[in-house]
C-alpha cells in the first residue's frame, strides 16, 4: 500500500468531481439553495394559513335555544363566531365544511341555569379539520367564560366574594434552558438529517467512480497503470467520503443559517414564544460521532456500486439501500425510543439515539465510546469489503 498513490488518485478524482456539474448540483446547490427556500416557504405558509384560520369568524348553527334568550344574546355578541340560521342538515354542513360547528342547547337552558340545575351543551365539530377545531376551541372558551359569569353573578347575588369560585390560580412556564428546549424539539432531527445527507452525498460519487468508470471505459486504463488496486480503492474511497462529509456539512450549515434567520417567523407562526437554541458544539460532537458511519456508507456504497456494469445498473442497486438507512434513522426520531442495550446494538439507530442525548447535553461517555467503536468496526468491515471487491476480476470485468 502506498499513501502517495492513493493521494494522487484522490486528487485526480476530486478535480474530476469538481468539474462535474451533476455533482455540484447534488452536493452544493440542493442543500444550499433548497433548504433556506424550504424553511422560509414552510414558515411563510404556516404563518399565512394559521393567521387566516385564526382571523376567521366561524359560521356555526344553533340547535334549540329559542327559549334561552340570554345565552342567544351572549352568543350573538361573541365576535369569534357568526350564528347562521339553523337548518335540518346541520351535521352534513359541518362535514361539507360549509359551517365550522353546530351547538346543541338543551330545552329551558336559561331557566335551568338560573335555578342551578345542571344542563349539558354539546358542540359538534370536524375532528382534524383545523378551522373546525379552532371554532370548537373558541366556543369552548366562550362557554367557560359564560359559566364563570354565571357563577360570579350567583355569588354576588348571595353577597359572597367572587374569588370563592377560584380560590387559587395555576401558572405554568418553561424553566429549562433554551438549548434544552431546542434539543427536545430538534434533537432527533439533527442526527437524522446528518445521516441522510452523509448517505445521499456519497451515493452519486460512489456510482460514478465505479460503475461509471466501467461504463466509460476508463477502468481498464487506470488498471493498466502501476497503481495497486488497494491504493486505487483507497483513493476513490477518500473522495466518496469527502463528498459525503461535505454534503452533510453544507446541508447542516445551510439548515442552521436558514433556521437562525427565519426563527422569528417560524416561532410567531407556531405561537410559541419560548426561546430555543441549539448548542453548536453539541452538533459538532454529533458530527464526530457520525463520522465512522460516513466511512461505512462510503465504503459499502463503493463495494455495491462496483458490482454494476453501468451507472444505471448501479442506481438500481444503490437506491433501495437508502431505505435501510432511513428506517433506523427515522426510528431514532420517534418519541419514546431511548438508548438501551437493545437499541444500542442496532447500527445507525444507536448513533441517532446517542446523538440525541449529546444534543440535550447528556454525555454518557461509556455509551458513546461503545457506539463509536462499534460503528468503526462496521466501517472497517465495509472498507475491507470494498478493497476485496476491487481485487476480484469477476467484479471488475463483469460482462
Amino acid at each position: 500500500m502506498s499513501l502517495r498513490n492513493s493521494l494522487i488518485v484522490y486528487r485526480k478524482e476530486l478535480r474530476d468531481m469538481l468539474r462535474d456539474k451533476r455533482t455540484i448540483r447534488s452536493m452544493v446547490i440542493i442543500p444550499v439553495i433548497a433548504f433556506p427556500l424550504l424553511i422560509l416557504g414552510m414558515a411563510y405558509m404556516q404563518a399565512h394559513f394559521m393567521g387566516t384560520a385564526q382571523k376567521e369568524v366561524a359560521p356555526i348553527m344553533l340547535q334549540g335555544g329559542q327559549d334561552s334568550p340570554k345565552l342567544l344574546a351572549a352568543l350573538r355578541d361573541f365576535s369569534g363566531v357568526q350564528v347562521v340560521p339553523y337548518q335540518a342538515d346541520a351535521k352534513e354542513e359541518v362535514s361539507d365544511k360549509k359551517i365550522r360547528a353546530m351547538v346543541t342547547i338543551p330545552k329551558g337552558f336559561d331557566a335551568a341555569v338560573s335555578i342551578g340545575h345542571p344542563e349539558q351543551v354539546s358542540i359538534g365539530y370536524y375532528e382534524a379539520d383545523e378551522k373546525s377545531e379552532l371554532a370548537k376551541e373558541k366556543l369552548q372558551k366562550f362557554f367557560d367564560d359564560y359559566r364563570n359569569n354565571v357563577i360570579r353573578a350567583a355569588l354576588a347575588a348571595r353577597g359572597l366574594p367572587p374569588n370563592l369560585a377560584e380560590p387559587f390560580t395555576v401558572q405554568s412556564a418553561n424553566i429549562v434552558a433554551p438549548s434544552k428546549v431546542g434539543a427536545a424539539m430538534f434533537g432527533g432531527l439533527i442526527p437524522y438529517l446528518i445521516i441522510i445527507f452523509c448517505f445521499t452525498g456519497a451515493m452519486y460519487p460512489a456510482m460514478d467512480l465505479t460503475a461509471g468508470e466501467k461504463e466509460r471505459g476508463t477502468m481498464e486504463t487506470i488498471l493498466s497503470s502501476p497503481v495497486s488496486r488497494t491504493d486505487l480503492v483507497i483513493g476513490k474511497f477518500l473522495m466518496i467520503l469527502t463528498a459525503s462529509v461535505v454534503t452533510a456539512l453544507l446541508s447542516l450549515i445551510s439548515l442552521g443559517a436558514s433556521f437562525a434567520s427565519f426563527k422569528n417567523q417560524i416561532m410567531s407562526a407556531t405561537g410559541d414564544s419560548v426561546p430555543i437554541a441549539i448548542n453548536p458544539s453539541a452538533v459538532a460532537a454529533v458530527f464526530a460521532l457520525i463520522l465512522p458511519l460516513a466511512v461505512l456508507f462510503a465504503s459499502s456504497l463503493l463495494a455495491v456500486a462496483l458490482l454494476a456494469k453501468s451507472y444505471r445498473e448501479a442506481q438500481t442497486y444503490v437506491s433501495p439501500l437508502i431505505f435501510i438507512v432511513i428506517a433506523p434513522a427515522f426510528a431514532g426520531i420517534m418519541p419514546g425510543v431511548e438508548l438501551n442495550w437493545k437499541t444500542g446494538l442496532v447500527p445507525i439507530l444507536n448513533t441517532c439515539l446517542a446523538s440525541k442525548e449529546i444534543i440535550s447535553g447528556t454525555y454518557n461517555w461509556g455509551h458513546m465510546a461503545l457506539i463509536f467503536g462499534m460503528t468503526c468496526v462496521y466501517a472497517a468491515i465495509g472498507l475491507a469489503a470494498a478493497v476485496r471487491m476491487f481485487n476480484r476480476e469477476d467484479v471488475l470485468f463483469r460482462t
Binding site: 498513490n5 485526480k12 478535480r15 468539474r19 476508463t218 481498464e220 497503470s225 495497486s228
Partner: protein, 245 residues
C-alpha cells in the same frame, strides 16, 4: 522482452460452465520486434494481452515481461509496460495535459520528468494545439494521440496494443500503425492484436494465430507462407481457424 509460458485463463460462466479463454499459450517476443496476435473475436487475444499487462492474473502458467514476472511482480510489470486498447478510454473532464500528468504521477515519475516528457511527447505528436482542452471535447484522432502520450509518458520498454485500430477511421488508424512502427524502431518490444490481415502483413515481424484459446501456429510471414503453401495470410488464417470448427 516478453516470454509467455503455458498461459492459461479459465472463467466461470453460469450458462456455459468453465471456459478456457486462454489455453496453454506460449510465445516469445524480442526487443525491436513487432509480434502480431491474430485471431477471430473471442479467440483469446484480449485475455492474453490483459494477462501480459497484469490486468488479469493467469489461472496457471506465467509470463516474463520486461524482466519481471506477471504473477509475482505485477506492479513492476505495469511500470514497464505501455498498454493501449480501444477499451482504454480517457477521463472526459481532464485536459490532455492533465491526463498525461496524472499517468506520469501514477507511474511514479517526478514532476520535472513529467514536464520534460510531456513537452517532448506533445511536440512529437503535434498536440500543442489542444494541450489544455478537455478530453470530452477532443476528436477521435486527438483522443488517440492523448492515449498514445499517456502510454508513453514513462518511456516503457514493452508496448502492448489490443486491437488499437478498432473503430478508427483510415487516418486515425494510420497514425496508430505509424506509431507502432516507431516503437519498434526505438527498440521497444511490441505486441499487438488485431483481426485485420493487412495490418499484420504490413507491420509484424512475427505472427501468432490464436483460436479458441490455443496458439495454432506461429512464425514470420514467410515461414507461415512456406508451411501452409499459401501466399495470402487470409487463406492461412481461414485454414488455421477453420479446421478447429
Amino acid at each position: 522482452m516478453i516470454e509467455a509460458n503455458n498461459l492459461c485463463k479459465n472463467f466461470k460462466d453460469k450458462k456455459r460452465g468453465d471456459i478456457h479463454a486462454v489455453d496453454d499459450v506460449s510465445f516469445t517476443c524480442k526487443p525491436g520486434e513487432i509480434y502480431g496476435l491474430l485471431g477471430a473475436n473471442g479467440a483469446g487475444k484480449t485475455t492474453t494481452l490483459r494477462i501480459l499487462a497484469t490486468i488479469l492474473a493467469p489461472s496457471s502458467g506465467t509470463a516474463n515481461v520486461a524482466g519481471f514476472d506477471v504473477v509475482r511482480e505485477p506492479q513492476k510489470v505495469r511500470a514497464h509496460v505501455g498498454f493501449l486498447s480501444t477499451a482504454t478510454a480517457l477521463y472526459d473532464r481532464l485536459t490532455a495535459a492533465e491526463t498525461v500528468e496524472y499517468f506520469g504521477q501514477l507511474f511514479g515519475l517526478d514532476s520535472a520528468t513529467i514536464e520534460r516528457r510531456t513537452n517532448e511527447l506533445f511536440a512529437a505528436l503535434d498536440m500543442e494545439e489542444f494541450r489544455d482542452r478537455r478530453c470530452a471535447k477532443l476528436s477521435t484522432g486527438m483522443k488517440q494521440k492523448v492515449s498514445i502520450a499517456r502510454t508513453l509518458i514513462h518511456d516503457p520498454p514493452v508496448m502492448i496494443f489490443d486491437e488499437p485500430t478498432n473503430g478508427l477511421d483510415v487516418m486515425a488508424a494510420r497514425s496508430i500503425t505509424d506509431f507502432i512502427r516507431q516503437c519498434r524502431d526505438h527498440g521497444k518490444t511490441v505486441i499487438f492484436s488485431t483481426h485485420v490481415m493487412t495490418e499484420v502483413e504490413k507491420l509484424c515481424d512475427r505472427i501468432g494465430i490464436i483460436h479458441a484459446g490455443k496458439m495454432r501456429t506461429e512464425g514470420t510471414l514467410d515461414e507461415l507462407r512456406q508451411n501452409f503453401g499459401k501466399d495470402s495470410l487470409e487463406e492461412i488464417f481461414v485454414e488455421v481457424s477453420g479446421d478447429a470448427r
